[in-house]
């Protein structure tokens, strides 16, 4: 058949009409829309049976009880655990986002060894024998004390296990990162007696005088504190906030006492002076205290209300009125530790606030301060120490605090090996450049980190730790709570990667070291160890998930020793030059210290805190000069120069620049790192004589348009 143009056209048109009328088009249209509803790259979560498991969150020292919802054993949601003695069903955003940490892009998936500038994967066996070998060499050379340890929290069985290892190895060089807990312990040691801690019974106080403590922004046990604040209205409790900016806590307070940054201690001492001069209670409560006369004389001389006004900017009459309001309340309590109470604190300030509590007769009273005994539920068998261990452990520590250690290491070195557990000093300590330089002076660094954070990046070997959702551990409350609760953190999921419980790692390491060290670590596993050392409470702990050790005021009034305060200690901060004082600002939605924020947490951060790649600094419009809201500006301190965005904010004292803490991470997690600047980079440590604390709460700064 000959196909001419006409029949070709006809055929074509006919075919087109036929297809158009057939169901093909309709079917394709429908299919394509169904395809858009099931795009292969849109995940379809597997369904199954819903169950709930209890555990404890150990992201921060809060020690909240959590309930983990699972689908076919797969955790899908974390919520606060109802009726838990610490958080009673509440939760904070970091804990709720906990599951994100399991799959965090920066998680360390296997043991690693540094080779040049790169990490290479190694097996656990290799890793353990490598570390054991290095440590063995150090021991053989007769300098076991040159092994150091920097860790986070100083309580619970893991802390003790590490300490036990250090003892058995023969080194006294264990250091903890600055935390509210360690600052309170230091205060208790200076004013009362060693091995105690302080707990603030905010729940039962009717007059809370907070010296900048961010009670609802992460101070202490955050959820417990937020709940204590929330119930204030019903129990008619007042909150007076001493602050230089409108923190959320200041905003929630009934009254704000505006002070110049860094003069909180002076105000506290001024209040002490008023109380001593005007009230009988204060004089009476001094009976039996150590160095009370010298203290009284010092107050009388140095802290008249006029002098306090000159230092703090609080009017003399207001100082007196505040002191009287405090003493007249039924159950007042003074709370130290500005912000989260960790970095940039001085013993002077903590002690001054605690002295106020002592003078007001608030020690070991309901609604006051508890001078608490250690939790004491752990009973480790006696350690096995050979001669090398005895010798090394008997030597003097290199430094009194981690900040002093950094100082010492940077100058002259002194450690041949360093364990880092639960700590990120290369981010969390002031002047991170100096910390990194100090780290470079240590020959062999072993990190027990779960994430490739700033410090892990500097280590030589990483023995990756399972995170709290993957492990068993006792978590003991502290952090300024007026009760002691031990919770049991339980594995909610098998380790997602090739990681180990750091307790197990330590036991393996000890056993690989052999001899006396192995003898002291003869457990099969950390689980066996925990069961043994918590013997008395293990059953309750594993059945109920927690044990309340103590929730009543300790009996008797402890003696207060005013020796430290009587010397009228002074520290010269902030350092440097500039028209402004730069201070870090703790935000509830950003993790501070060694903890890293989750993608969800960063997502909630306001654009008045983080804008694109810039940290936004708070500055009062009155002192901003020509700088406008949203301008990019250059911020300069003695430690460094950075670009920031200006956030005009009526809620900050003139002359002060507030910079959010918790930004400026530099590791490999695009959701969390590479955003803003780390305020710690800009602030230099100022070591407080007598305590070794880094008292640099801020630094002088200049600001100019970029």
């Amino acid at each position: 058949m000959k196909i001419d143009r006409r029949s070709f056209l006809g055929l074509g048109l006919g075919a087109a009409a036929g297809i158009a009328l057939s169901p093909v088009g309709v079917k394709l249209t429908d299919d394509s829309s169904i395809w858009t509803q099931n795009w292969p790259w849109t995940p379809v979560p597997e369904d199954g049976e819903i169950t709930y498991d209890r555990s404890v969150c150990s992201l921060c020292p809060g020690a909240c009880g959590i309930s983990v919802r699972k689908i076919n054993g797969r955790p899908v949601k974390i919520e606060g655990l109802d009726d838990h003695p610490i958080n009673n069903g509440g939760a904070c955003l970091h804990g709720i986002a906990g599951l994100q940490y399991l799959y965090d892009p920066a998680r360390i998936k296997t043991p690693l060894k540094k080779n040049g500038n790169k990490f290479e994967k190694i097996s656990w066996d290799e890793a353990i024998s490598l570390v054991a070998g290095k440590l063995g060499e150090i021991r053989e050379s007769g300098t076991p004390e040159s092994l150091g340890l920097i860790s986070g929290a100083d309580n619970g069985s893991m802390a003790q296990l590490f300490r036990r290892f250090m003892d058995a190895f023969g080194s006294p060089n264990t250091y903890t990162m600055p935390s509210l807990e360690s600052n309170l312990a230091l205060t208790a040691a200076a004013l009362h007696s060693a091995d105690r801690s302080l707990g603030f019974d905010i729940d039962h106080s009717d007059f809370i005088l907070s010296f900048g403590a961010a009670i609802i922004e992460g101070w202490g046990s955050p959820v417990a504190c937020i709940q204590a604040n929330a119930s204030r209205h019903e129990r008619k409790a007042k909150l007076v906030q001493v602050d230089y900016r409108l923190s959320n806590t200041a905003n929630a307070a009934d009254k704000i006492i505006a002070v110049k940054p860094g003069t909180e201690a002076d105000l506290a001492l001024g209040l002490c002076a008023v109380l001593l001069a005007k009230t009988k209670i204060a004089k009476d409560s001094l009976s039996g205290d150590v160095n009370k006369l010298a203290f009284s004389a010092m107050l009388e001389k140095e802290y008249t209300s006029d002098k306090v006004e000159a230092i703090t900017g609080v009017k003399a009459a207001d100082v007196e009125a505040l002191a009287m309001a405090f003493i007249k309340a039924k159950a007042p309590v003074a709370v130290p530790g500005k912000g989260r109470g960790d970095v940039g604190q001085s013993l002077r300030e903590f002690a001054a606030v605690q002295a106020l509590n002592a003078l007001a007769g608030r020690l070991n009273k309901e609604g006051g301060v508890f001078v608490m005994w250690p939790a004491g539920y752990l009973k480790f068998p006696e350690n096995v120490m050979d001669d090398t261990a005895e010798q090394g452990a008997g030597k003097a520590k290199l430094a009194g605090s981690v900040t002093e250690l950094v100082d010492k290491l940077e100058k002259d070195g002194g450690l041949s090996a360093l364990f880092i557990y639960n700590a990120n000093p290369c981010y969390a300590l002031n002047n991170t450049e100096k910390v990194k330089a100090a780290m470079d002076k240590v020959g062999f660094k072993v990190s027990f980190s779960s994430f490739m954070d700033e410090t892990a990046l500097k280590s030589d070997v990483i023995l990756p730790a399972s995170i709290f959702l993957e492990r068993l551990e006792d978590v003991v409350s502290g952090a300024g709570l007026a009760k002691t609760v031990v919770g049991l953190c339980r594995p909610m999921v098998k380790p997602v990667f090739d990681t180990k419980h750091p307790g197990d790692t330590l036991i393996l390491l000890a056993q690989a070291m052999g001899d006396s060290i192995a003898e002291g670590f003869s457990w099969d596993s950390y689980e066996a160890c925990l069961e043994e050392v918590t013997g008395d409470i293990w059953d309750t702990l594993s059945d109920d998930g927690y044990v309340v050790i103590d929730d009543k005021p300790p009996v008797g009034t402890p003696v207060t020793d005013f020796t430290f305060l009587s010397s009228a200690p002074k520290i010269d901060v902030p350092m440097g030059e500039g028209d402004f004082t730069l201070v870090p600002v703790d935000k509830m939605r950003l993790a501070g210290g060694s903890m890293i924020s989750s993608p969800f947490a960063v997502k909630t951060v306001s654009d008045t805190v983080l804008s694109g790649k810039y940290s936004v600094v708070e500055i009062n419009p009155a002192t901003a000069g020509a700088l406008k809201d949203g301008d990019v500006a250059v911020l300069k301190t003695a430690m460094g120069t950075v670009k920031v965005k200006i956030g005009l904010n009526e809620g900050i004292m003139a002359g002060v620049i507030g910079m959010p803490r918790g930004l400026g991470h530099t590791f490999n997690n695009p959701y969390v790192a590479g955003k803003g600047v780390n305020v710690n980079d800009l602030i230099g440590p100022v070591i407080e004589p007598g305590s070794g604390l880094d008292a640099a709460f801020g630094i002088k700064a200049t600001l100019s348009k970029a």
Binding site: T29, S33, W35, T36
Partner: protein, 418 residues
């Protein structure tokens, strides 16, 4: 080269020159097509729209082309229903412009929606309460009508018309065109109105919200009215531009003046209604929701009272008066100014009713939201313009669009030949 396709007796530029023009405009078109594919394959993150600015540049373009495309339905209505016979000289062109506008509008909608493959859900899962459903139905139907109206003109191409079937088809279609014109006018009335309704029913947005009649907010009627009023301005403007480019007179002054006069009266009556609406809204509706007029025109870097004054007075009252006044209407310069102002006016109205609505804060603690379109948005918005130019160029070259072309240019041609 393509002489055989060119209407008999018509003078057209040389094919290579024509092709150069097409290639230049075609490059712009391709740029738009590239942006369009980016939006389809990568998603609307290619735009600078955001959750505050869910409607943006191209939705304004969409509403604007539909408004100016209103010349087609209104001219059709006048020509076929009201038998204003003089309009036969411009009706073909009005239909082509309408066809371009409406096909562009549909294309923009296909790019605008987040899930283009589910676009048909608007018909399948139609929500009768939604103004947008009405828009979609009427818009699609009216586009079909415009296509039908356009077909006879295509069939009149010299070669196509040689086929007896097409010749008769074209002839018969002309015969029944009144039916389609009526249908088109009806559909157009509703979808122009429902586009106005889209804004007017948003009772959560005091800047947009209007009271009204039964289920229709006043913007429903104002949009239809303004499309009918300003649509012919656009038809005249495009005619003028085409005349300038071709260097020929294409539509007789009588027809032009007639359409301009009708447009003038429509604009004038519309703008009176618009002013009443604005006053009622400014002094009754908005205050009842807690807003004073100044709220909508202050505290931001762009939207000031200037936009209201420009839209209503400069681009509403002024062109209306210029076109109803015989002397200014018949003066080509003032007439052209009026036409241009009119087109700007209706486009500005659609801008305000799309973009300013999104920009105005409603919550007392919210702030103005201004946005700058991305290049992809600009390219996809220019795409219909390029497409329109090409379609007009091709239609003008190969179809007998302007019945008066030969007659109006005869003398000039003869003069040239002599």
């Amino acid at each position: 080269m393509d002489d055989a396709l060119i209407p008999e007796g018509a003078k057209r530029c040389a094919f290579p020159i024509f092709m150069i023009g097409i290639i230049i405009v075609g490059a712009v078109l391709l740029w738009g097509v590239y942006a369009m594919f980016l939006c389809w394959f990568k998603g609307l993150n290619q735009t600078n729209m955001n959750d505050y600015y869910g409607f943006a540049l191209w939705i304004w373009a969409d509403l604007a082309v539909i408004a100016v495309g209103g010349g087609a339905f209104f001219t059709g209505l006048l020509k076929y229903i009201f038998k204003v016979d003089d309009l036969k000289n411009i009706i073909n062109f009005a239909v082509i412009i309408g066809f371009i506008c409406y096909s562009s509008a549909l294309l923009i909608l296909a790019i605008d929606i987040g899930q283009p493959l589910r676009g048909w859900f608007i018909f399948w899962h139609a929500n009768v309460h939604s103004m947008l459903t009405e828009v979609a139905f009427c818009l699609s139907c009216y586009f079909a009508v415009l296509t039908i109206e356009f077909i006879p003109n295509i069939l009149e191409n010299r070669q196509v018309n040689k086929v007896p079937f097409f010749h008769h088809l074209a002839h018969n279609m002309h015969g029944v065109m009144a039916v389609f014109a009526a249908t088109g006018a009806f559909l157009s009335f509703f979808h122009q109105g429902s586009l106005g309704g889209v804004a007017g029913v948003m009772f959560g947005r005091p800047f947009a919200y209007r009271e009204g009649l039964l289920i229709w907010p006043w913007t429903f009627f104002l949009f239809t009215w303004s499309a009918a009023a300003f649509g012919p301005c656009f038809t005249l403007l495009v005619t003028k531009i085409t005349e300038m480019i071709t260097g020929k007179k294409l539509v007789g002054d009588k027809t032009v003046n007639l359409l301009a006069k009708i447009s003038g009266w429509m604009i004038t009556t519309y703008i009176i209604a618009k002013i009443i609406d604005t006053i009622y809204w400014a002094f009754v509706t908005a205050p009842s929701m807690g807003f004073k007029l100044g709220h909508f025109y202050s505290n931001n870097g762009f939207y000031g009272y200037w936009i209201l004054i420009t839209e209503v007075i400069l681009c509403g009252v002024v062109p209306g008066l210029l076109l109803i006044n015989k002397s200014t209407r018949e003066n080509p310069a003032t007439r052209t100014i009026a036409i241009i102002l009119g087109v700007i006016g209706v486009c500005l109205n659609r801008w305000v009713m799309v973009l300013q609505i999104m920009a105005v804060p409603v919550l007392s603690f919210d702030t103005w939201a201004l946005y700058i379109p991305s290049w992809q948005e600009v390219a996809t918005t220019i795409l219909p313009v390029a497409y329109g130019i090409i379609l007009i160029a091709v239609a003008y070259r190969y179809l007998p669009v302007f019945p008066q072309e030969l007659e109006l240019n005869e003398s000039a041609d003869t003069a040239a030949q002599n």
